[in-house]
């Protein structure tokens, strides 16, 4: 297997083999985080920029730790998408960052396609850390890693993705990852938040959570944004909780080895009940731990394509 992607922009562009290779590589990296010295010198001398144009603490921290555990130098550039639109374009900013001779840019941005746009205008590697509702590839990968770690496989598992599918990059990257690895994916949510023709992505659609829960091996619960209520996607949060909130009572007919996942940050008491988030099915904290290993694997693999010369090391 040879890794040949200079950027990680979407899961859609990856093959099944690419995905499996990242997950395998991540296994080696997970061990590093439990050593007393949680650091290897692999990316020493590489400069990686965390370019976050949208607030996100978790993903940014996770990438930062991943980079630092690989000994890369990490610079955080936090800017709001709104200040970008006031004059300096994404491209200008990106070119400025690149002129400082960085090796990789990790970008989070509110606009779909922004990671691609960036990759098209800079010569360094680009990693998409979430581009609007489009994709969030490392989240899809770490979710798959967690499922595989707990279940031993992904092929044939029944996975529910519950909530605001329409606005969710997590949903899209999860759908691509899981479908490519052979899972049976069903999206569940209010009909207003299931986007047009999503079946074309190879998923089943359901509006009835209670019917789906007993069949599920994994339930991935998406964060619901309160603002959606203002645009009439659902009438009240209360009604949303009644129909789609994942509570202990709802899980009474669930499989005994069900996994409950959430990309975070969770609205406890809204899309997920605290008892479920902290309950026996929950692997939410494993997702956080695995996120670092998966991101280390991604940084490692992408870096290897980004550089130019090739010298064979002699023993």
């Amino acid at each position: 297997m040879e890794w040949k992607h200079k950027h990680l922009l979407t899961i859609e562009q990856l093959s099944k083999e690419d995905i499996e290779y990242i997950l395998e590589t991540a296994v080696s990296f997970k061990e590093i985080s439990v050593r007393s010295v949680k650091k290897v010198p692999t990316l020493r001398g590489k400069t990686i920029v965390n370019f976050f144009c949208e607030p996100s603490t978790r993903t940014r921290m996770s990438f930062e730790l991943a980079a630092k555990r690989l000994s890369a130098d990490m610079l955080n550039v936090v800017s709001s998408s709104s200040s970008l639109s006031k004059g300096e374009s994404l491209k200008d900013t990106a070119r400025n960052i690149e002129a400082m001779k960085v090796d990789m840019i990790i970008i989070r941005h509110s606009m779909p396609g922004s990671a691609q746009l960036l990759a098209d205008c800079v010569s360094c590697s680009v990693i998409n850390a979430g581009d609007g509702p489009h994709e969030h590839p490392t989240q899809g990968l770490l979710d798959a890693y967690t499922i595989k770690e707990k279940k031993g496989r992904i092929q044939g598992l029944k996975v529910l993705i519950v909530g605001d599918i329409a606005h969710s990059r997590v949903a899209r990257s999860n759908i691509w990852t899981l479908k490519k690895l052979g899972a049976d994916v069903t999206v569940v949510g209010p009909s207003t938040l299931i986007p047009a023709e999503i079946e074309k992505m190879g998923v089943n659609v359901s509006y009835y959570l209670d019917e789906e829960i007993p069949k599920a091996d994994v339930i991935n619960i998406l964060r619901i944004q309160r603002e959606r209520q203002d645009r009439n996607f659902f009438p009240t949060l209360r009604e949303y909780i009644q129909l789609f909130g994942v509570s202990e009572a709802r899980l009474k007919n669930a499989k005994k080895d069900l996994l409950i996942m959430h990309p975070g940050p969770a609205n406890r008491g809204v899309e997920i009940d605290p008892a479920v988030a902290d309950g026996p099915y929950s692997v939410i904290l494993d997702q956080v731990t695995n996120g670092i290993a998966v991101r280390m694997a991604v940084l490692y693999l992408v870096s290897s394509v980004g550089s130019s010369k090739k010298v064979k090391m002699k023993s």
Partner: protein
């Protein structure tokens, strides 16, 4: 000035000509059309070429006044002439908008020296703000050919009612941009499987179809003449077909990109972003069907130039619109004529007589005594759309790199060649 176009295939459905003739142009008029004409003036060999009544594009954004960085009346008209157009109707979403006598006169003054005729279209509402009726009478007196708030839908149904009623006195068409802005709400491409996959907010077909149905209902109840601009959906074609069947004074137009490009082509490329958005192949089929059966009266470009700074940005925030004047006829010939979907007569109807009828512009075609507005075409010439050859000030074309069959060789306005291809 005299010019004789010799041995050319003249095609003109109105004057029922389809055959090899000589056409003599003298002092801006067509002096004669028959075989074996002689002149001591200029001679243009027309062998193997087709001469048709001058094409007219009734939906063009010339951007002047206000956005001269993207296009000017001069550059837009040169692009039009290169595309074979002898006249363009310019949309009023300029700065200031075409809502007063002064702006109309400014445009017509500038147009005097330009490469094609300019037919300004006035706004429906003052400042194109969708609130108060624009002064139709004053605008017509100064030379507008219709009314639209193009760029924005008329959200106020009461205003649309009054506009239709008021326009009855002047027999000019209202040409609304059909968009319910609450349905298109921040959308940036067709709502469907592709928008879902890309995470781009969608514009449902209903955003335009609902407004069409409202406007047709208003015409039925209150009168007025309605021209439906840039139809992009199968449903839209059907709505117009029904209205025509009921005998309502409703006409429609569409543009080549709606049957040559589709939502699946978007892929975050901002030169594939316009309103209405690229739909699906099924919609494209229906539009072609509408052009065939006459449901759609006009082929337009919705030529919408944008400076690179407004396109070279994230897809969602990029400006809506693409240029089209220089590729329109090539696309029509390649995708409709050579595929034997429309014959030349039908194409001339949709690209010359139809638009003139809707605008109220006289068009006598290729007849003795008529004004000499002519388009000379090489039907077989194959060419590639190249960015560096685009005459328009803006280069936002999704067709760059396309290879087309059928090219404009010359464009004549009032007896003067405003464009002639360089023959080596």
């Amino acid at each position: 000035m005299t010019c004789l176009i010799k041995n050319v295939t003249v095609v003109d459905p109105k004057n029922k000509i389809h055959g090899t003739m000589d056409v003599l142009v003298k002092d801006g008029k067509i002096a004669d059309v028959k075989k074996g004409l002689q002149t001591d003036g200029d001679v243009v060999e027309g062998k193997g070429r087709v001469l048709v009544p001058g094409l007219v594009d009734m939906h063009v954004h010339l951007r002047e006044p206000g956005c001269e960085g993207a296009e000017t009346i001069d550059s837009g008209c040169r692009a039009a002439a290169k595309g074979g157009f002898t006249g363009v109707a310019c949309m009023p979403n300029t700065t200031p908008p075409i809502d007063s006598a002064g702006t109309v006169r400014y445009i017509l003054e500038k147009a005097k020296s330009s490469a094609c005729r300019v037919f300004p279209v006035g706004t429906i509402s003052k400042e194109r703000a969708g609130k108060e009726l624009a002064p139709f009478g004053e605008l017509i007196e100064n030379g507008v050919y219709g009314f639209t708030d193009d760029g924005s839908g008329v959200m106020d149904s009461g205003l649309m009612r009054r506009a239709l009623e008021y326009s009855k006195m002047f027999n000019k068409a209202l040409m609304p941009h059909e968009e319910d802005e609450l349905l298109s709400a921040h959308g940036a491409m067709h709502e469907g499987g592709v928008s879902t996959r890309l995470g781009i907010p969608g514009i449902p077909r209903a955003a335009e179809e609902c407004m069409m149905e409202r406007d047709i209902r208003l015409v039925k109840c209150f009168g007025g003449r309605l021209h439906i601009t840039h139809v992009s959906t199968k449903g839209g074609v059907e709505i117009i077909r029904q209205a025509k069947a009921e005998g309502l004074p409703v006409t429609g137009e569409s543009a080549p990109h709606y049957w040559t490009l589709f939502d699946k082509d978007v892929n975050f490329n901002t030169n594939f972003k316009m309103y209405p958005p690229l739909r699906t192949p099924e919609d494209g089929e229906a539009i072609i069907e509408g052009l065939k059966d006459g449901t759609l009266d006009a082929i337009v470009t919705d030529h919408a130039p944008h400076a690179e700074a407004n396109k070279d940005v994230e897809y969602n925030v990029a400006a809506f619109g693409i240029i089209g004047l220089e590729t329109s006829l090539g696309l029509v010939l390649t995708t409709l004529y050579h595929k034997k979907i429309l014959d030349l007569e039908a194409i001339i109807e949709r690209m010359s007589y139809g638009p003139c009828r809707i605008l109220g512009v006289e068009n006598q075609g290729i007849a003795k005594g008529a004004d000499a507005h002519l388009t000379l075409i090489d039907l077989e010439k194959e060419w590639i759309v190249k960015k560096e050859e685009i005459v328009s000030k803006s280069k936002n074309s999704p067709f760059i790199g396309w290879s087309l069959k059928g090219q404009v060789v010359g464009t004549m306005v009032n007896g003067i060649w405003t464009y002639q291809i360089n023959d080596d």
